[in-house]
Symmetry: C2
Subunit: 241 residues, 2 copies
């Protein structure tokens, strides 16, 4: 990219993008100090206010950081937590070995609902409804995601009570062999956070989050769990094999 | 959510979030007309300018749409293109059956590079470098993504020439059985678009994109291809199994 003095784009905006591209191309590496205002002025034959405005905008965008008395540096992106072998079952409740340490919220019973009935492929009849389970994805006391799992109350009639009384997962699962997830299909996409998700994930309203939702299937081929997950987009990466 | 007349948050901002949450909760469905300004004033005991400002902000955010002479509607999210069974090999070049229709850019040869050498696990010695292949993910004349694939020029010494001369994929792959991808590992994350990606994907600069990058392995266990993909976050969803 070269500066174009005949362009209708102001020079400070061109310089801003030139600096961005030098960062993207690795000319200025993460954590590196960028050249001083004076050096940039001299290199590119620009006025001091032009350089100052470009840098000010990049600082306000979080792309550059001023370290007082030391200079201007390329902001370092935080390390991301890797979720290894991410697949449809990664955030399944029924796939957990135990649930004591996950910060599970009080389990709620929800009435039959057209959207959930469609997900579970349950015809529109009176039925026992669903258990809704919610828990955060925590690591080092930081919230990385928020999981919601729906499980049929027909198949697990006492799940709410069992969890409230601290029954062990192994006992909850016993005799339910055919209803435990063995495969699944989730849609992963990026979308603005819902207000509740933004508040739990501690991000500004309507920030883009990674969202995964879909169905898990038991050995009998029926849907056994429906999951909806919202993930911090800036702190996570998912390994896909 | 209820309006709080004693809060330091202005009423229009509270109303804005109340409308957002009604949309998120499905009270106002996609494409539905929302109640008129007058109706909202009456329902919530608010002044007309308060209601007008909340709606104006949601229109400018793209959450509501004014249809002239008809009213204010909840914006409809575009249908997303589903990439079925997304996995590390989905956007592999070497996994393609043919490349004639993908809009492949002229193949470039790139010199040995520390980052690529590390990805391919090639020690720091003089070697033949890489072929860089780039093509868009197109559907219905719309760009959904941008793929970059690196392939070792040691293993495929004539790849550039073969492609330039229109050699068929089946012939390019013949005798290369051990070097064709059979598994892989990519990191999927959300990050701001690089300027070049933003321009190809036709999105504003630094919009969050879905990015996947990683290594594909051949039958011999060695890295045979390194891919870097940027995907439109608003138009795609990935099926993960």
């Amino acid at each position: 990219m070269k500066l174009d003095r005949h362009s209708s784009v102001p020079l400070y905006a061109q310089l801003r993008e030139l600096i961005v591209e030098r960062i993207q191309d690795g000319v200025y590496g993460q954590g590196d100090r960028i050249p001083s205002e004076m050096t940039l002025c001299a290199e590119l034959d620009l006025s001091r206010p032009t350089v100052r405005q470009a840098i000010a905008e990049l600082v306000s965008d979080g792309i550059l950081e001023i370290q007082k008395g030391r200079g201007t540096y390329v902001a370092v992106e935080p390390d991301r937590l890797l979720i290894p072998h991410f697949n449809a079952l990664t955030f399944s409740f029924l796939n957990l070995v135990n649930y004591e340490d996950i910060g599970l919220q009080p389990v709620q019973h929800v009435e039959p609902d057209p959207e959930l009935d469609a997900a579970f492929n349950i015809p529109e009849v009176k039925h026992a409804g669903y258990w809704m389970l919610q828990w955060p994805i925590m690591f080092d006391q930081r919230v990385y995601g928020w999981c919601t799992s729906y499980i049929s109350a027909q198949v697990f009639p006492n799940l709410g009570q069992s969890i409230a009384s601290g029954k062990r997962m192994i006992d909850i699962k016993s005799n339910k062999y055919a209803f435990l997830p063995v495969k699944g299909s989730v849609s992963l996409l990026a979308r603005p956070a819902r207000n509740k998700e933004a508040s739990i994930l501690e991000i500004p309203k309507r920030t883009i989050v990674l969202a995964a939702s879909g169905e898990l299937y038991g050995r009998n081929g029926n849907v056994c769990e429906h999951i909806r997950i919202a993930l911090r987009p800036d702190l996570l990466k998912l390994e896909i094999n």
